[in-house]
Amino acid sequence: MKGQTTNILLVGVGGQGILLASEILSETFMLAGFDVKKSEIHGMSQRGGSVVSHVRFGEKVFSPIVPEGEGDILFGFELMETLRALPLLRKGGKVVANDLQIPPSSVLMGKAAYPEMVDERIREKFPDFLLVDGQRLAVKAGNARAANTVLLGAVSRRIDVAEEYWLQALERMVPAKALDVNRKAFMLGREF
């Protein structure tokens, strides 16, 4: 049987702020009293390549990477990368994704096409799928750059950890001057 570990995958494109989001997640789980591990690859991937960050929490976590096909929640910052990461999820896993397309170089150069009907393809495999217009809600919260925090709010609803720990983690990880907007963005996301 599966142990007590919850597996979260964050995927997107280098430079999208995935590392900060996964740090806020980890901080939240530590504050809530869990063991936490998180892992991702730096380096080449920072130059606009695909990025996958793994966050795991539970009583006691061993591997810092989520075994393939055992992800519980997929947190997608970009649609094609979300689609690419589906094989990492277990059957019945949940997906929360930002409604954003960033074309890779081959598409920019007109050599390949961006995949079509990405959201349908995701929903077909994983009915528990939430597509969020992060940018729009972030603007509503006061700053388009807080889109990740909106998403984080939506993800937080799917994880059984009390709200206070999320807010404490935000406070610790987000620079003071951006905190208000990020709190608002988080609460907007939490309405989903």
């Binding site: 936490v36 380096g43 080449m44 810092p64 393939e68 096909g69 055992e70 393809r121 495999k125």
Partner: protein
């Protein structure tokens, strides 16, 4: 206090807590963040060295004066530092000295995946291998203690998944009361003339014997008996994967990976039924355990290439009758998902290297390459790099090529190398090129920073790791002093100027150097990189000729549905205003954004 730290952050913390006074190294993924974090502890003198060999030599000097020191590098960096390392093994140390080697199984960001555990055996020094961030911190401190206790440098080996994973660490205070460093004469021990070295070698052998003896009772070598039908010997992140995959099996977790605890391994082997080794890369444990006369299975089922993972280990053991730790339902792979266009890394919008590679491609140059962001010049559409072997190799590669090819082909040979890489190990290559009169062209892509590893300063950037202003090497004068008669500086955003310089110097039957002078777009320091006014495509003028797409700038997008043949579009969020694409458009469709 508990904090979530990466392995690298934890090593820096361990160095701080252990009273380290000097930390040095050369940037290299996945090791870089150790020094970037060490610098936040003001008690530590942290610095970037021009290369790993110099870094280790600096550490040795500090250690001989009595200071605890730590020196950091990636796995291939140890090749550069190997020369001092092997003799340091003989001299021993005074203040504890730890060399961190950050290995990169799977080559996430490296040119090979050498297993640096072999260095420990080769150089006859102990090596510790932590399995999470808490151990990164604890083992750093322990390594410094062992270093002093056994009069030896100690290697601390991490792998990418340890360096860049975060887990919870308990923080402690810095030790106090360590001896104050001072010059002490101990020439017989530190001057490795043959007569002295002959005295030291038996001491090295004796030290390793004593360590191997002690290893069997060290608490970092831990026997965990569970179901005894199977026993797995493992270390580092593989221990975590094994526990994840098979929570019930007995394990012998090795924290000291060289020398091996022979007695402990024997006693583990006796207690369990079938014995396995799970290790990434080389059969380092396996061969030594077999040599002890103990039957063990390892590389017969565990892959040699690439990194491991819980699921790879489960797969490897299929049919070996071990109960797996989880039985979740894995959905079948979505064939559609696998056929998605890949997303390779790319040079940033406005990268000063882009126009140079575009021009080299146009001139059909045979480009010997080197290590840095500019290695991405290999990828389409720039597609202009023929070699990339190791730091500094481009210049020697070019010298070798022009030695043997026809006069016509000699003209096509161009070496490209970044500022940091040139200082790391390109200078000697250039000295050779001039000395032996090789008529090749060298392009020094001076972007004022060590960019690939995330913007580290170097002797040509004008600042130190501690962010103090420093002398900035004048690369042009340096090349002249080496004897290069034709040294010129070009603005790489001016394609005409760049093309003219390259053409002329490639034609010239002598060594010549071209230095580009625009900074990396990621340099945050005031007054270095400045965003220019942005550019935009006038859709009515764009004929859809696709000339600008040959740059591969991520800011330029192709809109196939628009215009007669499709049109280009510049994303104003990404454009930095470098002006290069404008120069490619024959129809004046690209201009300043309004």
């Amino acid at each position: 206090m508990r904090e979530i730290l990466s392995g690298n952050e934890a090593i820096a913390r361990g160095a701080f807590e252990a009273g380290v006074l000097v930390a040095t190294g050369y940037p290299g993924t996945p090791s870089t963040e150790i020094l970037e974090n060490a610098v936040s502890y003001r008690e530590i003198d942290s610095s970037w060295a021009p290369n790993e060999k110099v870094a280790l030599e600096v550490a040795i000097g500090a250690s001989f004066a009595g200071a605890r020191t730590i020196v950091t590098m990636k796995h291939v960096g140890v090749n550069v530092a190997a020369d001092p390392l092997f003799t340091l093994s003989y001299t021993g140390i005074k203040g504890g000295l730890v060399l961190v080697t950050a290995d990169d199984p799977e080559m996430h960001s490296s040119q090979n995946e050498q297993d640096n555990r072999n260095y420990a055996k080769f150089a006859k020094v102990p090596m510790l291998e932590p399995a999470d961030s808490q151990e990164c911190k604890d083992f750093t401190k322990l390594a410094l203690e062992l270093s002093e206790q056994y009069d030896t440098p100690v290697l601390l080996r991490t792998t990418t998944r340890i360096s860049h994973s975060k887990s919870i660490v308990e923080l402690n205070d810095r030790v106090t009361g360590l001896p104050v460093p001072a010059l002490v004469s101990n020439a017989a021990k530190q001057v490795m003339l043959p007569a002295n070295a002959k005295v030291r070698h038996p001491l090295v052998e004796d030290r390793m014997r004593r360590l191997a003896e002690a290893a069997s009772t060290m608490s970092i070598n831990r026997m965990e008996l569970r179901d005894n039908s199977v026993g797995i010997i493992t270390s580092g992140v593989c221990y975590q994967y094994v526990r994840e995959a098979f929570p019930q099996v007995s394990t012998l977790k090795l924290g000291l990976v060289n020398p091996l605890p022979v007695k402990l391994i024997r006693s583990f082997a006796e207690k369990v039924g079938r014995l396995y080794v799970v290790e990434e890369l080389d059969p380092f444990f396996e061969e030594q355990i077999l040599a002890m006369g103990i039957g063990v299975t390892g590389k017969e089922i565990i892959p040699v290439c690439g990194e491991l993972s819980p699921e790879k280990i489960r797969k490897a053991f299929a049919g070996h009758g071990i109960e797996a730790g989880s039985a979740v339902e894995v959905p079948e792979a979505d064939a559609g998902a696998i056929a998605l266009p890949p997303r390779p890394p790319n040079m940033c919008p406005g990268c000063p290297h882009r126009g140079v590679f575009y021009t080299l491609n146009q001139l059909k140059a045979y480009v010997t390459g080197d290590i840095g962001c500019y290695t991405l010049g290999f990828l389409p559409p720039l597609s202009s790099m023929e070699t990339c072997v190791c730091m500094g190799a481009s210049i020697g590669n070019a010298t070798g090529a022009v030695k043997v090819v026809s006069e016509d082909e000699k003209k096509r040979v161009v070496a490209v190398i970044g500022d940091s890489t040139f200082i790391h190990s390109g200078i000697t290559g250039l000295a050779d090129m001039v000395y032996n009169n090789a008529p090749a062209t060298v392009v020094i892509l001076d972007n004022r920073i060590t960019a690939m590893t995330g913007r580290q300063d170097n002797p040509a950037s004008g600042f130190t790791l501690m962010n103090e202003p420093a002398h900035r090497i004048d690369l042009s004068q340096l090349c002249s002093a080496l004897g290069v008669k034709h040294v010129r500086t070009v603005n790489p955003f001016d394609l005409e100027e760049t093309r003219k310089a390259l053409k002329e110097e490639m034609e010239r039957p002598e060594t010549s150097v071209i230095i580009t002078n625009k900074p990396c777009v990621l340099v945050k320091r005031e007054g270095v990189f400045k965003k220019g006014p942005l550019f935009a495509v006038e859709a009515e003028k764009c004929t859809g000729c696709r000339a600008c797409l040959k740059l591969g700038c991520p800011a330029i997008q192709w809109k196939s549905g628009e215009g007669k043949n499709g049109v280009s579009y510049i994303d104003p969020m990404l454009c930095t205003g470098c002006d290069v694409c404008r120069q490619l458009c024959k129809f004046d469709a690209i201009g300043r954004a309004k």
